[in-house]
Amino acid sequence: MKKTGSQILLECLQQEGVDTVFGYPGGTVINIYHDIADYPIHHILTRHEQAAVHAADGYARTTGKVGVAIATSGPGATNTVTGIATAYMDSVPMVIITGQVPTPLIGNDAFQEVDIIGITRSITKHNYLVQDIKDLSRIVKQAFYIARTGRPGPVLIDLPKDIQVASAKFEYPEKVELRGYKPTYSGNARQMEKAARMILASRKPVLYVGGGATGADASEDLLAFAEMTQAPVTTTLMGMASFPQRHPQALGMLGMHGTYYANMAVTNSDLLIAVGARFDDRVTGKIASFAPHAKIIHIDIDPTSIKKNVRVDLPIVGDLKDVLNKLGVALGERPEELAAMVDGSAAWRTEIDDWKSSHPMGYQASDSIIKPQYVIEQLRELTADDAIITTEVGQHQMWTAQFFSFSQPRTFLTSGGLGTMGYGLPAAVGAQAAFPERQVIDISGDGSFQMNSQELATLVQYKLPVKIAILNNNYLGMVRQWQEMFFDRRYSETTMELPIDFVKLAEAYGATGLRATRPEEVGEVIRKALATPGPVLMEFKVDREENVMPMVPAGAAINEMVLAS
């Protein structure tokens, strides 16, 4: 029996096991929206296409499955761009489906036509314009395969309207054939042998873990490997939740707002083992002074990440799970040498402990004003271990990374690579849709919140009980901090002059609003929010000019930190 293009698309989604999609209708996807009601696919209508893409992203980051978003052509498609770029930078598996004007009109500046393939070429792992209905199911199959394999990423399918209404026989291909795409999963045995020797020879090793560990679901393997070598573990913003932050070997985050001891450990190490990380400039600071005494082993699924920014002594391309396991086996086969290495690095561990005790992470507590870090600590205290935390971008994001002590993988959703304000709330929509029973909390700033606050409507409509914690400093705080430190305190356009009544805003959407203005109210407000069914917005009036510390000024070496006074 023949099916229409829009039915074929939906059949394909079903074949891929898609249960939830996020989107927004319009003229060139109206057929898909007409047909979707016939399929067991839950559609969540966000209030903006950017939010639909972030929601699909949140769904993907929490579940590890491919997130799916749908938008109409023209403005719908352009609205997806920030969401796609966010997912691309953080390697999130997604398929974005955009409607397109009918094929005969393409190139004519038709109503709501944009060249979304051209626009998204550099922010997708791959993209497709479907030109013939006969190609549709093959393209969808390939799109999902490309999105989730290798280094994951977003794939866009641009589907012209005439192809949605045309009809053809539906057959879902069994295999994907892409002669140009064959990710390397298995680490090269000789390289791993060399790596094992380098590890056994080291006395000051550090594991530097990035978002790839989450993408590869390699947390357990990482923990086993770390414990075997006793090497301290520092993580990037993207890698935080893949290693339990209360583990004695955890050093927290490195880089611009990293801990003193993580940055000192990297600077003084003799062997840096990079695991699914890409030496971002926010991590390395001044490249020439980054890990100057260390040999570098770089393990990554994506060969282009290796030797892009820093010299690497030993590259290993492969799946982190596979490589960490095999390295563990190789070390396990030399118990005496391993014991010698672990014993031999005892002095190193003492050195690190000394840095930890001389410069612990902390902040000036107060009993008269709410310290933003205190709110984060209280949130950790009062939420479940498996609570999913999303953030926006700014100081609140860094404090979350510094003080939340993540303990489970896929519980920290934040825009690391692109740094997209407005990410957290829609990402929470996606996370909560994936896990209706878990606690999902968006830790937000007053500035960022206003970038996608319309998603309060989505929460209320779908009864998604997301809790929002706004750390309100009435500032674009992170930019203000830079102005304070590097621009003579000229707070140009970073003061949010208009005080918003966030509680009333929540209520206007039919959500609950709560406010804390004094430290003793913080715990109470959080408890109440967690006990209240449905979405709740908590506003915390925090110390306005608190800064994120330590801080490595842009361009400085990471051991040249400005520390809290």
């Binding site: 792992k125 791959h126 314009l129 002669r179 140009g180 795409y181 060969p303 030797k307």
Partner: protein
Amino acid sequence: MKHTISVLVENEFGVLTRVAGLFSGRGFNIESLSVAPTLDPSVSRMTIVTRGDDRILEQINKQLNKLIDTIKVTDFTGQDYVEREMALVKVAAEEETRAEVLRIVDIFRAKVVDVTPRSYTLEVTGVPTKLDAVIDLLKPMGIKELVRSGPIVIGRGQ
């Protein structure tokens, strides 16, 4: 250093823009680029001449390989290969220079492919440096138009 890279790609919609966009987006330079289908019409070959140090070339190589439509990347630098480029040169041919133009044609085994009362159009094939030499010699006669194909290369032996 100059590198000549041969890239086999799927002959798909938009593949040229993907490759060109990769170079411009990452700040790699392209000196020349030529594209045509291979014996297998589903595959095209691009020959790209670029410049960069080892680190940049390694990135170019890896980034090209990362494109889904890329089937194979070969950097011919340091390998044994045959390189050819073609130029079409429209050169002024006045009474007093006609003979000289033909002499150059002869020496470099070029061909006259079009003649008008005031110009010759020459076809010159060879390695790029040979083309440079011919063009230099023709310049004093007055080159009206010059079209170069960019080099193409093929490995020696099997």
